[in-house]
Structure formats: C-alpha cells, structure tokens
C-alpha cells in the first residue's frame, strides 16, 4: 500500500495505491475518485447500537467507508471536506482521540470507537462525540487551517473548535470558561481542559469562527 499526503498545507488530501486484498477505511463521503473495481463496504464505528444511539441523540452517524482492492495497483483519492492540512500518524497500541470532523482515513489494524463528550458538548456546535482510535496502523486526520502539535505537561485549555486530536494519556473534560453566563456570552463557547502529559494537535482556524464572521453578512 502506498499512501501519499499531497497538497499540504492548504488542500491536504490522500493519493492511495492499494495492492490486491488491501483495505483502507475512511470517513463517510471522503472518496473523491477511484478505479472502478474497488469494492465498497460500510462500517458503523463501534457497531450498530452505538451508531443508532448517535444518530438519534446527535444526528451524527459516524459511519466509515471501507474500500478493498481486488487487484494490485488500484488507485483511490480521499479528501476531507475542509481545506487544510492532513497529518499522518502511526498508531502503536496507544490510543488517539479525534474530534468528529477530524478523522480522514486509517488502515485495517485500527479500530474506531466513539466517546460521548458529555452534555456540555451538545451545545458546543462541534459535535457531541469524539472518535477513539485503537490498535496498530497508520491513521490520517485533517484540520481546518494549519496544525500545531503541542506537548502538554500540566494543564492546558483549548477551545473545542480548535481541537483536532489528543493522546488520551491526558485527562480531559469538556467545560465552559467560568460559569454558564460567561459560556453563553463570552463567545468563547466551550473548551477542552487537559491535564497530565501527552500531545494535543490544534488547528489554527475553526469552522464556527468562519461561520460566525459570515453570519454577520447573511441577509
């Protein structure tokens, strides 16, 4: 299998060539183009019941597409919906947490599950569920804007809209900045509060920031 991240940092996406029998999993809807003999299956992250629960509660199904090559040299292009950077990550038994829009693709050895972000996350507008990747294999995630990798030691606070991924060796909670009043009116929305040691990946722009700015011009 050859997977190239191309067009970083502005339009990062994946150019993939699969050998016979090889499989790649991707975010639902990420396929941009492919050779016509690739076989498609779908998988619900974490199984049927969790997927149903997510659909009912959050309207997010978090399905993934599974593409399998029937012959060597099958080509596949996978793109995130948002312009930005794509990061390749090698998962080695230590799990990785991703915000729901950040997952792009992974190899078969990676298992994807979901974690409920808590009731506060329901109001964050960034999705209520986080994706937990476990196992071994390559994983690719995407951002809006550039990605900053940050090594946390101690406490660290990030706006939920700017979080891309983190290592769950860190403790994390979704909270507001201060009380409910300031959560609603400060414009800071919700934050992920990390403590301990581990890595966090941030994105330099947020979709809600763009939408908020555009909203001022909507009539």
């Amino acid at each position: 299998m050859s997977v190239q991240v191309v067009s970083n940092p502005d339009f990062g996406h994946l150019e993939i060539v699969l050998d016979q029998g090889q499989t790649i999993l991707c975010e639902s809807g990420a396929m941009a183009a492919m050779d016509s003999d690739l076989q498609l299956d779908t998988k619900m992250m974490g199984g049927f019941l969790p997927a149903l629960w997510r659909k009912v509660v959050a309207g997010e199904s978090l399905l993934s597409g599974v593409y399998t090559a029937k012959r060597a040299g099958s080509r596949l292009w996978l793109s995130p919906p948002i312009p930005g950077q794509v990061i390749a990550y090698s998962l080695q038994d230590k799990p990785l947490m991703l915000t729901s829009g950040s997952f792009l693709a992974c190899e078969e050895g990676v298992q994807l599950g979901t974690k409920f972000g808590g009731l506060r996350a329901m109001f964050s507008g960034e999705g209520m569920f986080f994706i937990e990747a476990r196992g071994r294999g390559s994983l690719w995630f995407n951002s809006y804007g550039a990605v900053i990798e940050h090594e946390v030691n101690g406490e660290f606070i990030v706006d939920t809209g700017h979080v891309v991924a983190w290592e769950p060796s860190l403790q994390w909670t979704v909270t507001g900045m201060g009380n409910l009043f300031s959560t609603l009116f400060s414009g800071e929305g919700l934050v992920l509060r990390f403590s301990g040691s581990g890595k966090v990946w941030l994105q330099t722009r947020s979709m809600s920031g763009l939408a908020g700015w555009l909203a001022g011009y909507c009539r």
Binding site: G29, M34, G65, P83
Partner: protein
Amino acid sequence: MKASVIGTDSFQSLHVELSPGERFYSEAGKMVRCSSGVDIEVTLQKKGGGFMGALKRLLSSDSFFYSRYTAQGTGTSEVVIAPTMMGNVRVLELKGDETWITSGGSYLASGPEITSEAKWQGLGAGLLSGESLMFVHNRGIGFLAVEAFGTIHEVDVNGEFVVDTGHLVAFESSLSFTVGKVGGSWIKSFFSGEGFVMNFKGTGKLLMQSHNGSSFGGLLGPLLPKRRS
C-alpha cells in the same frame, strides 16, 4: 493572445495578454484588473450561443452572461480573471479536434473561437447526481480555462474510472459516463456517504479537484443563521 496561470497554488488566477484587436470571453463578473485600453462588454452571445444558450447555461450552474474583453489601443493589454473558490486554475489549449466538457461552474474563460454550449446531460444523471442539469461542451481552437476548489489532478482514463460528482472539473468527450452507485448496492452507497458518483468509460483525459464545494458548503451552512424569507 497568451493565457497563463498566475498566483500561488492555493489562489491561482488567469492572466491573459491581448494584442490590439484580440478578444476573449470569461464568465461575467470574474475580472480582477485590466489595462485601460480594454473594452469590456457583457453579452449573452458567444460564438455559437444566444438567448436559449444562456438559459441553458443557467441550468449548468454557470453564469447567464459572458464578459467580452477586446483590446483597443496600440500596445499589449492585460486582463486578470479570478475564480470563485480558492484553488487551482488550469489552461487547456484546444486544437479543434476534441471537445472538453466542463461541469457545474468550472468554466472560467476561453478564446474567441471556442464555442461553449450547455447540453442536457440526461435526466437521470442531472436530477440524481446533485450536479447541474447541464454540462457545457467546449470546442474549437484556442484556450479554455477552468477553475477548481483545491488542487487539480489530471487523470488519463483508460477503461473505467469513478469520480464523486462534486469532484469533477472537466473531461474529454471521448469519455462516456453514467451516474450511479458506488460499490455493490444502493444501500451501501448511501450509508457510505457516497450518494452518487459518475462512472466514466473509454479513453481520454479527465480533470478532478481535490475538494468538494458541496461538502464544504454542507458543513458551513448549518452553522449560519436561517435565511429570512
């Protein structure tokens, strides 16, 4: 006349140099700058099109009007045309023996001898795919410039190839296509998030874009306030 691409990868534009008397067309409203000797007219008429042609163009997600730029004066004139989305511009040099079909809104500009005709792409294809009902067929001798969201990839199709409807920019008419499902069944196709794709067949070149405007818009839209009716 010389048409070239300028700017950085993420924000490319089209630069056209005109000698006195030369002219070209672009989709209306796309001009950034031009020399003072350039005469700009808005027109429905382009070679091989009239009012009906313009109506059909609307159904192809392209503009109803064209802008026509004619160089007056004595020296070389310049015109710069910018696309709507951030991303690549590609200039194709047509030699007269091929037709390039541009999909939903990818037509940017063309030389004076290029005819651009919106054609019905087939009922099933248009309604089902979420793409426009018409594709624009461009032929003749001269340049054709297309715009894209993200990076443009050129693919040499030989046999069969699948492109998501939102990632198609343009293709040669030697390729035929059907709109359909990807994978084994309609159910799989829908659950995978890949509602409809275009199955290409034959031999020819195809241009695709790395990003999909509908996907980006689909994420952004729900975050915006409701439109007042």
